[in-house]
């Protein structure tokens, strides 16, 4: 593998990670902590939205994020021919 290709692969990898971590941060630290009071003004069947993100919602998003990451990375691996 050429150095140039390795660098491009790594760059694409990092950009995927950063995008996913942005979502990770927004649902947990954003919705569940920093903006919890603002989201708490919205209520679904008695449950305040910020509270829900902190206690349940963010966990669902975490699981989905990892599976998206796996799919995404497998695709990038194949594109650069570094898969196993």
């Amino acid at each position: 593998m050429t150095e140039e290709k390795a660098r491009a692969y790594w760059k694409e990898n990092i950009s995927a990670i950063l995008k996913l971590l942005a979502v990770w941060f927004i649902v947990s630290y954003g919705a569940g902590i920093l903006f919890i009071n603002q989201l708490n003004t919205i209520e679904i069947s008695g449950v305040k939205l910020g509270f829900w993100f902190a206690q349940q919602g963010s966990i669902y998003v975490f699981v989905i994020l990892i599976f998206i990451y796996v799919k995404w990375m497998n695709k990038i691996d194949e594109k650069y021919d570094v898969h196993e």
Binding site: I33, G46, S58, V63, E84
Partner: protein, 625 residues
């Protein structure tokens, strides 16, 4: 069948299963012992990781903590799950490609330094023992309550079981046993949760029960909350009536933020979790393993919020204003005719985890905010096992100051009993209670076994193999594979004995030491591994400076504020000791980056190694040399 027989059957059958699996999966080589031969299927590995990760704290204590903390308890739920995203994206695939056995392996090789390796080994051992002491204590509590044996006997039984499958089977035995333990614990957690959800909100899925409405009217002591009220509204109303903070509103957002970071990053930096990703065949499998692990963890974690809310409602409904003597002996009827029997209250009083103080002398229990007993932590001081004429256990505490709104609290409830007592509080069938006992033991034993393995491999592989018996000519171990395997088994035995000792003679601060484990992992392993992978320029000097800064800062802060009675007013930026690992981590990053840029870059072969771990191809071969 009576409860005791059922408990013996459930616990006995689950133990027999673990031992059969251990014999079937006996380890034959060090590779089997350390990383299960590197050939575990990702779904099985995910399940085993989930069982390894979910400890007595997750299973027994967490719902209780959240039932009391309400909204702020979300820090634990997000912290202990969100760390897996970091693991999957930032650590697991690269560490798998690196392809050695342990975390000190990575630290020592990447920073070409036996000093770094030794510091890592010490940190691994300290973090893991802290953790294991709590697990053995959890085993003891479950045994003493459900098998009616002494706590110490319980700890010894637990040690023998772990001994059999950890020493014989190593990682291979542990992994397959943990798959079985995961199934036991998830069933044991979900079945009572479904029962509670149906009972309180008439909703089958506990995850959705939190959106439900109450099926019964209950008297919180101030007013009656009618049936058909949204569960969260009922709970918020009841707890504020009783003088607590509203359940679904946050308290200190800053501390919640810091605690969540420390727990997430700590999770991603805990050696017994990281080592899991060395056990799968390919890089691809390491990524998806983290996904499966979190999936299996989430099945349990997403029910915790609901279980916590149900139990808080149940406690108020069952305990408020019941006449003690009649309640614990024959039971009482609620206003709407539901049967309410307080036998469980008496049993847990025997375990010193519940107490009642009839401050107003009306013979009825009142539950509200505030301390029921005059003690810095509100804990009862029992007068031996003496009981009053009405049957409640006597205490020697002086009466606390009276006159709280709406009335004085008379009950002390240890949070750790909530999950274990839930089925009894809710009058669920006996087999559900027996199941909880088996589940609690599965949770504690699976985590203890994983930790003991990490301790033993750090000693045999890293300390003996790579530092003390290193052949200076080749850089490899002078020990043969068989000798190292024997050393690993002996180290595992020693670790079990020490863990058992800590379980029988707990340092007295098991709850606080958890802050240690997470804080130190967050301030040491997480940053050093991240830098090792993502910063090619990071060198020996930077890494050692970073680890030392992170460890020393975090260690001293926790020791000062938790064990030496430091005044919370002096907290740095107002951060409580449980969240200080976050600051330790930031300091680690800053110091490591500055020092590395002022010193020589790492040698060429190390830079090449970093290039290499960034590319997935070739991980299968990496394990074979």
């Amino acid at each position: 069948m009576d409860l005791q027989t059922l408990i013996y059957i459930f616990v006995g059958a689950s133990f027999a299963l673990y031992i059969i699996i251990a014999i079937w999966a006996k380890a034959a080589s060090t590779k089997d012992f350390y990383v299960a031969g590197g050939g575990v299927h990702p779904v099985a590995n995910g399940m085993a990781t989930a069982a390894d990760w979910m400890s007595a704290a997750s299973f027994i204590s967490l719902a209780g903590i959240i039932a009391y903390k309400g909204s702020d308890g979300g820090a634990y739920l997000m912290g202990w799950t969100g760390g897996y995203v970091l693991l999957a994206l930032l650590l697991a695939p690269y560490l798998r490609k690196f392809g050695k056995f342990t975390v000190p392996d990575f630290v020592g090789d990447r920073y070409y330094s036996d000093l770094a390796r030794t510091v890592a080994v010490i940190a691994v051992i300290f973090i893991s023992f802290t953790y294991v002491a709590g697990q053995m204590r959890g085993v003891g509590i479950v045994f003493s309550r459900f098998l009616q044996v002494d706590v110490n006997t319980g700890v010894v039984i637990g040690m023998v079981i772990v001994f059999i499958y950890a020493v014989l089977g190593g990682m291979k035995g542990i992994t397959y046993t943990q798959v079985a333990q995961y199934m036991v614990m998830i069933v044991a957690y979900l079945i009572p949760a479904i029962f509670l959800s149906l009972m309180v909100t008439d909703t089958f899925l506990p995850q959705l029960g939190i959106f439900g409405t109450t099926t019964f009217a209950f008297d919180d002591g101030v007013k009656t909350i009618p049936a058909g009220t949204y569960l969260m509204h009922a709970l918020d109303t009841a707890v504020t009536d009783l003088g607590f903070n509203a359940y679904s509103l946050p308290g200190n957002i800053w501390n919640m933020f810091m605690l969540t970071v420390a727990l997430m990053v700590g999770t991603a930096g805990l050696p017994h979790v990281i080592v899991r990703f060395f056990t799968v065949p390919r890089v691809k499998d390491a990524r998806i393993s983290a996904g499966w692990a979190l999936f299996f963890i989430a099945i349990l974690y997403t029910t915790i919020a609901s279980v916590a809310a149900f139990s808080r409602v149940n406690i108020i409904d069952r305990v408020q204003n019941v006449p003690y003597q009649q309640w614990v002996t024959e039971g009482v009827k609620q206003a709407d005719g539901r049967i309410n029997h307080g036998g469980w209250f008496k049993t847990w009083e025997d375990g010193s985890l519940l107490a009642w103080n009839d401050r107003n002398g009306d013979g009825k229990i009142q539950y509200a905010a505030g301390k029921a007993f005059d003690d810095p932590k509100g804990k009862p001081h029992f007068d031996d096992h003496k009981r009053a004429p009405d049957g409640h256990r006597l205490t020697t505490n002086p009466l606390p100051a009276a006159g709280h709104k709406p009335f004085d609290n008379e009950v002390y409830i240890d949070r750790d009993i909530i999950v274990l007592a839930n089925p009894e509080i809710a009058n669920l069938p006996n087999w559900v209670i027996a199941l909880i006992a088996a589940g609690g033991l599965a949770a504690a034993l699976s985590t203890a076994a994983g930790l003991l393995l990490v301790i033993s491999s750090s000693i045999s592989h890293d300390l003996l193999g790579r530092v003390m018996f290193k052949d200076p000519a080749t850089g490899k171990s002078k020990l043969s594979d068989r000798q190292e395997l024997l050393a690993a088994r002996i180290a595992a035995i020693a670790a079990i004995v020490v863990a058992g000792y800590l379980g029988i003679n707990p340092p007295g601060f098991v709850a606080q030491v958890v802050a240690f484990a997470f804080g130190l992992a967050a301030a040491s392993f997480f940053p050093t591994i991240i830098l090792g992978i993502f910063d090619k320029r990071m060198n020996k000097a930077g890494a050692i400076a970073g680890i030392s800064t992170g460890l020393i800062f975090t260690f001293s802060y926790i020791v000062y504020f938790v064990f030496m009675g430091g005044d919370p007013k002096d907290y740095l930026f107002g951060v409580a000791p449980v969240g200080i690992g976050t600051i330790g981590m930031v300091l680690h990053f800053i110091v490591a980056l500055i020092v590395s840029r002022m010193t020589e870059p790492p040698p060429a072969h190390i830079q090449e190694m970093v290039e290499n771990i960034r590319i997935p191809r070739g991980a299968g071969e990496a394990h074979n040399h």
